[in-house]
Amino acid sequence: MTTTTTILASVLTTNLAILVLAGFIGFVVISKVPNTLHTPLMSGTNAIHGIVLLGGLLLLGLPGLDGLSKALLVIAVAFGTINIVGGFLVTDRMLEMFKSKPKPKASDEDDEKGAGS
């Protein structure tokens, strides 16, 4: 009993440490993002919390699930997949538009001036 409790306590404290550190990393990494990228950032982080998919996948491996549990998990896996796939694709689409903006602009403007005169 003592052993089990000890192991559990260390699992809990280790996970809590991970939790707290991840929170700080989140603050540090993300507070540097410029205002203009906030929508893609929100969309990107949105995709990342689709990681709950893993929870659905893990539970589907449990023995002795009844029909309702299986149905709930299939929906959960589908939801998680929508969250991930949709989230990353949408973010990619948004960011593609930001990319290549500053550099081709210079030449674009030259072209337009040329065409205009």
Binding site: T39, S43, G55, G61, S69, I75, A78, V85
Partner: protein, 505 residues
């Protein structure tokens, strides 16, 4: 012959899977760092996506994994729905889409917690004491004590039950709240605040207490699935009750808040399932969502508790009605031809886009207009309020889509000092973010909110569909300013008309 089983043993080794998780969340962090700059952002997002792929594969390697058909079914369903939705959504509908993706994430968390309860719930409350001491029969998790007596371990630890129930409540709130936010932005549900009036805060509080009470009872061993479902429903009602009274103007803050909620609930699920990838990814999202929420709320001069308590929307609508009565009839309207002339002879024009531009899909028309102006030597820039549109950066996304050069986009703090030397400010479908009442009228609900100081410029042209107040529900003094001319109409057609008139000058 021997290599294959060895390889599979290695691949399914717990430590190997853990290492894959570590790689995965390192990639998430690296990816988010990439999102910090416009040039690295695309790669950052892809790095995070690769991390996600690794995390999923690592999970599927788990030796206990099973029900492959159902897993395939769930994944296929998700891809079949998610990919077309993401591919086809218009850039203007992006905020709703984020709300929806956020919602399904929260829904997944709630469902997972439900299954956890169905599976382990009969042992909730047993506090990891030995079966012989507590007298509880144990369905899972067996162990032996050092003395060799075979004992059953009393189910899942209490902390697992706590995290699981927490995830269920928050996930359910997030799912329903996000769906309401989606409905409001998609205009399926009216954007104006819907509330029980003064009883709203009491209702919210009662629902919250009910959900918490049910959660505490479950953690303490109330082995009732009905109670669990009841808790999910109460949390769902709470999600509805919190978001319904919030007006459209506050919606970005709400989506951001719910995004943080879903992240936290995912981290809680990770704590319950002892899964480091879930803990790290969920918590990072929780942290980022909190930062974004705070930034947005600050930009709108709102406190998060006030928004969530439904304190703002209703009061704003009343103030708006009064304001309309005071001012009616002092508005100057203009024509596309006059506006074209005014713009053509300006030296410096600042475009102030808002939600109206997004709704009308006018960003390409706006770009055409500004190209035409630039040809005539007019200096054009865009002033972007942090919360213009429905989310921070919403305008930037739209204008980038229309090929507006990145360096022409000015953020509020850079744009404001320049309005004094601006000849014409062209306000396209922006309202509350230009309202001088935020600076001049202490009684206004938006007093103190940072605004674009459009009224400092020599003249203002406002393109707007009607005199209806904006989402905050308050009248805009700017429209009654003598130097302001209103051009009524749909943003896209109005801008196109101006461009056509310009071409004829």
């Amino acid at each position: 012959m021997i290599g294959l089983p060895l390889a599979s043993t290695f691949l399914q080794d717990e430590s190997f899977i853990y290492v894959l998780y570590i790689i995965a969340f390192a990639l998430f962090i690296q990816g988010l760092r990439g999102l910090a700059g416009p040039t690295t952002a695309v790669r950052g997002n892809r790095i995070a996506a690769v991390g996600m792929g690794i995390a999923v594969i690592a999970t599927l390697l788990n030796p206990g994994e099973g029900n492959w058909g159902l897993i395939a079914l769930g994944l296929a369903l998700g891809v079949a729905v998610g990919v077309p939705a993401a591919r086809n959504v218009k850039m203007t509908a992006m905020p709703q889409m984020v709300a929806l993706f956020n919602g399904v994430g929260g829904g997944a968390v709630a469902l997972i917690s439900w299954v956890e309860f169905r599976h382990y719930g009969s042992t909730y409350g047993s506090h990891w004491v030995l079966a012989s001491e507590s007298g509880i029969l144990v369905p899972i998790g067996k162990g032996t004590t050092g003395s060799g007596i075979s004992v059953s371990v009393g189910g899942v630890p209490t902390y697992v039950a706590i995290f699981s129930v927490f995830a269920a409540i928050v996930g359910s709130i997030s799912f329903w709240g996000s769906n309401i936010a989606f409905g409001k932005l998609q205009e399926v549900i009216p954007g104006r605040p819907i509330s029980f009036g003064s009883a709203q805060q009491v209702v919210n509080l009662v629902l919250l207490i009910l959900a918490l009470a049910a959660g505490i009872a479950l953690v303490n061993g109330a082995h009732s699935e009905l109670l669990f479902i009841g808790m999910l429903i109460v949390a769902a009602l709470l999600g509805n009750a919190v978001v319904l009274p919030i007006g459209g103007a506050d919606m970005p803050v709400v989506i951001s808040l719910l995004n943080a909620f879903t992240g936290l609930s995912a981290a809680a699920t990770g704590m319950a399932l002892n899964n480091p990838a879930l803990i790290v990814a969920g918590m990072i999202v929780g942290a980022s969502g909190s930062i974004l929420t705070n930034l947005m709320a600050t930009a709108m001069n709102r406190s998060i508790p006030a928004i969530v308590a439904g304190g703002f929307g209703g009061g704003g609508a009343v103030a708006g009605a009064q304001g309309a009565g005071e001012h009616a009839g002092t508005v100057r309207s203009t024509s596309a031809a006059d506006a074209a002339i005014q713009l053509a002879y300006a030296n410096r024009v600042v475009v102030v886009p808002g939600y109206g531009m997004a709704v009308a899909q006018a960003q390409h028309a706006v770009r055409e207009l500004t190209k035409e102006l630039e040809k005539r030597g007019v200096e054009v820039s865009y002033a972007i309020h942090p919360v213009a549109g429905r989310m921070p950066g919403h305008m930037n996304v739209l204008l980038a889509e229309a090929d507006v050069p990145y360096d022409q986009l000015k953020e509020m703090d850079d744009a404001n000092p320049e309005f004094q030397r601006t000849d014409v400010s062209l306000v396209i479908g922006a309202n509350d973010v230009t309202n001088p009442a935020a600076k001049n009228t202490p009684s206004s609900p938006i007093y103190g909110m940072p605004i674009l100081e459009v009224s400092d410029s020599h003249s203002v042209i406002v393109i707007k569909r009607s005199m209806n107040p904006g989402f905050a529900g308050i009248e805009n003094e700017l429209y009654f300013d003598p130097k302001t001319a209103m051009l009524f109409g749909d943003a896209k057609s109005a801008v196109s008309e101006i461009t056509a008139e310009l071409a004829q000058l």
